[in-house]
Amino acid sequence: MMFPRVTRRPDGAAAIEGLFPLHVEALVEVPELLEKPEGEAHRRLFPEPSDDAKHREDWERLVRPELFALLASARDILVRDLKGLEPTTPFGPVPRWNVTVPAQHVNAWISALNAARLALGARHGVSTEQDLRPELVEKDGRIEMDERTFAIVKINVLAELQALLILEGLPEGERPPASEEEEGSGEEGA
């Protein structure tokens, strides 16, 4: 089975190929997650800058609108690019999907995927690295998942795409190395 891969094209675009339906399902949910983050998701995406009440008040008034605008811009870029999602094997048993991210959109995608993962985690009370490794229960040959477990699976699926975009989609000089401590491309928790 071929896993999704990202290839940086000569024009700098990142070609994402071989997405499974689960990847697509997680991706198309990203815009909704970032449209109007509320409650815990809002608190996580727009944290306080300090303990000082006056500083927080100024931050809310002067800085936060710009942070909202940046996130909205990344979301809008992802929405536009997702319109180019194409099935590659429409008549096969397991459809796979491709999408191309223009060079100037790669950073917005990395940011939007990160924010969506954080919003999902905040919504579902993910507070430890252990929470990201739920025990999957198999029953009658099928894996049963409650809503929270499915959300965690999506966090991990989006992590895979985010790490691929960072390690394969950015220009070579901008890619951080995946270290031994990270046991691969993109372990969570930093």
């Binding site: 996580r44 995406l45 727009f46 944290p47 306080e48 800058p49 300090s50 303990d51 800085v63 710009e66 942070l67 940046l70 990395i110 940011s111 990160n114 924010a115 993962r117 954080l118 985690g121 993910v126 507070s127 430890t128 690295e129 929470d131 990201l132 966090i155 992590a159 985010q162 790490a163 960072i166 390690l167 950015l170 901008e174 890619r175 951080p176 190395p177 995946a178 270290s179 401590e181 990270e182 491309s185 993109g186 372990e187 969570e188 928790g189 930093a190």
Partner: protein
């Protein structure tokens, strides 16, 4: 006879430096944090990676220290990258 000379002394009290602190969260990818440190602070990859590992293993890391205004700019950029960052005076 010469006039007595008055010596004036001005004391300049420097504002205390501010620390920019990044806190661990379980979801943000380690490779992403390293990338953000490289971009925002211009640190070499080794330093960015070491700071990321400090965040990961100790729960927080002081990633920069200096004037308040610059600290605010850095915290804003770190928040734009969705990292948990705060600032505090030393």
């Amino acid at each position: 006879m010469t006039e007595p000379q008055v010596l004036e002394e001005t004391q300049v009290r420097l504002a205390p430096p501010w620390n920019v602190i990044v806190w661990n969260d379980p979801i943000t990818l380690m490779v992403y944090v390293t990338m953000v440190f490289q971009r925002i602070f211009g640190y070499p990859v080794e330093k960015s990676h070491a700071l990321m590992m400090e965040v990961h293993t100790k729960g927080r890391s002081i990633v920069w220290t200096g004037a308040r205004e610059q600290a605010e700019t850095y915290v804003q950029k770190l928040h734009a990258a969705q990292l948990l960052a705060t600032m505090e005076t030393t």
